[in-house]
């Protein structure tokens, strides 16, 4: 399975930060971007994101995501720009008929919205590409006191998605080799076609989960208090990063209060 956002192993500073720090980073980017009205400030946040991605050596993997976001932003801006009447008109969509006026305020606002979108939406893939899912989950259990059972459930669910898809393909091929036609454009028929594929899949996954449960029990799962192998304590780099982020957020709040 080629997941569209997948952990890419690396050893950059950002890779080594605590997952909690990185989660805080996504939130502080969001706060700063929505506090400030200045497109240049938001642009600099976006550039910082790109620098982080570059140092983490994931810029190539980020490229399709950024391209998608850019297309989305363009469409959004085109929809938005004609509805802002304030400011001076700089150009018309159809100059011959003086139709579809575009104002300078409109352009500024659309650029701001697009940049906000790019900066905030690009943080999540950066987080997921530089942090293994299991680390995020461990950090959530250890630091945010999420019950272990829930985080384990999440881990297992994530781990079983690829094997689930393999299984699905296998069932599909088995059915197809017996002449089952699963090729249709009609969404309703497609749904009906899925049923004979879903039942064997359901049965095998129940069997698998039963075996998984047994193999967890024999290793003492649920026998009481448990310890944690992964070290998810905060390092100096984490504290420095948090201080930097906090100062930016505070600066953003101060700037917003002044204007």
């Amino acid at each position: 399975m080629s997941a569209f956002v997948e952990y890419i192993p690396g050893n950059s500073i950002f890779h080594r930060l605590n997952p909690i720090t990185k989660i805080l980073w996504t939130f502080s980017v969001m706060i700063v971007c929505f506090l400030t009205e200045n497109p240049l400030a938001v642009l600099s946040v976006f550039i910082v994101n790109l620098v982080i991605a570059a140092t983490g050596n994931i810029i190539r993997q980020m490229y399709p995501i950024l391209r998608g976001l850019l297309v989305f932003c363009t469409i959004l801006s085109l929809c938005q720009v004609f509805f802002i009447k304030e400011g001076t008109v700089v150009l018309y969509a159809l100059p011959w008929f003086r139709l579809g006026p575009v104002t300078d305020r409109g352009i500024r606002l659309c650029v701001l919205i697009s940049l906000r979108m790019l900066s905030t939406a690009s943080t999540v893939p950066i987080l997921l590409m530089t942090t293994p899912m299991s680390d995020i989950i461990t950090a959530m259990t250890e630091k945010l006191r999420l019950p272990y059972k829930y985080s384990l459930m999440l881990t297992i669910a994530l781990k079983f998605i690829p094997s689930f898809i393999d299984e699905m393909n296998q069932v599909m091929q088995a059915q197809m080799s017996r002449g089952y036609n699963s090729d249709t454009k009609n969404p309703f028929r497609k749904f009906l076609i899925i049923i004979p594929l879903a039942i064997p899949l359901l049965i095998t996954s129940i069997q698998k989960s039963r075996l998984l449960a047994i193999s967890m029990e024999v290793r003492g799962f649920g026998s009481g208090k448990r310890s944690c192998y992964k070290d998810c304590s905060m390092g100096n780099a984490d504290y420095i990063a948090i201080i930097i982020m906090a100062s930016f957020v505070l600066a953003g709040i101060a700037a917003a209060l002044i204007t």
Binding site: T155, L211, E217, R219, G220, S223, S227, Y229
Partner: protein
């Protein structure tokens, strides 16, 4: 190490017992193979030894199973996890985590073992099964044999006295099967772990085990040293266990009355016997 007395178990909803009057003693340090046709109750026996029956499965359970001094029916989950390690058939669905070290850590975390000790135990068990280089690997990219060795490592990290494996090689290629059995041999002879392995491949059992238990229809049909069991062709044929080429060849040689000594269990032994038979003829 393992003592089973008059064990009878019937799954709830089933009319006939899956195990009937099983009596089995396995001493510490033994390497025992269990074989038999499908539906013989081998897996059920394994589940009785590791305590999954009667703890997590419904059915009527009679008799006693004592492993490492613990009665499995009354011992807690924790004691059982520390005295019996289990490895199952499908390497895919017994591995929970995405990296090898996390997988091995799981059992240790469950038993609330402090982190420092955990690190050393993980390294030790990886070394014991010979996969230290895979410590940080992703579990999804391993071969079948490697996956099973990860499963073995995560079982022995809890320092069990007994290791029970339910058809650990049934989904592996010959090379992976060999890997697994060599690992078991090492654990058995160098680390004094009692190994009980359920296996269809008689050839592997004959090469590695000292003792063979043959089951059929919920009963133990034969129990003894590998050589004496393999020399009894009628019983093996009756049970539908296909004996391997060496045994077949030796049976033919015996039928001709050419040889009547100890039964060979591997190619080297068979070679010695055959050259012994041929020698006088070559000399003449």
């Amino acid at each position: 190490m393992i003592e089973i007395h008059d064990l009878t178990f019937t799954y709830s909803g089933s009319g006939s017992p899956a195990l009937e009057n099983i009596n089995l003693r396995v001493a510490g340090g033994e390497f025992v193979g269990i074989s038999g046709p499908a539906g013989a109750g081998k897996t059920t026996l394994a589940l009785c030894i590791n305590g999954v029956i009667p703890h997590f499965m419904d059915g009527s359970f009679h008799g006693t199973v004592i492993v490492d001094g613990y009665d499995t029916a009354s011992a807690g989950c924790k004691e059982l996890a520390c005295s019996v390690g289990s490895v199952f058939q499908d390497p895919e669905s017994q591995i929970v985590f995405s990296t090898v070290e996390e997988e091995i850590a799981f059992g240790l975390e469950n038993l609330n073992i402090p982190r420092k000790e955990m690190v050393s135990r993980i390294d030790e068990s990886l070394k014991m099964v010979g996969i230290s280089h895979l410590k940080r690997c992703s579990t999804s990219h391993l071969s079948g044999g490697q996956k099973q060795r990860v499963a073995i490592a995560s079982a022995i990290a809890l320092k069990p006295k007994v290791l029970i494996l339910d058809e650990p090689t049934s989904e592996l290629d010959p090379q992976g099967s060999m890997e697994v059995f060599k690992t078991l041999e090492n654990l058995n002879s160098n680390h004094n772990i009692t190994v009980v392995v359920i296996e269809q491949k008689i050839q592997l059992l004959s090469e590695f085990c000292q003792r063979l238990v043959i089951m059929d229809k919920g009963k133990i049909m034969m129990d003894g040293p590998v050589k004496s069991i393999l020399s009894n062709r009628e019983v093996l044929n009756f049970l539908g266990i296909d004996s391997f080429p060496v045994a077949k060849l030796m049976h033919l040689i015996r039928d001709k009355g050419l040889y009547d000594g100890e039964f060979p269990v591997n190619i080297d032994e068979a070679f010695d016997i055959i050259s012994y038979i041929l020698k006088p003829k070559i000399l003449h």
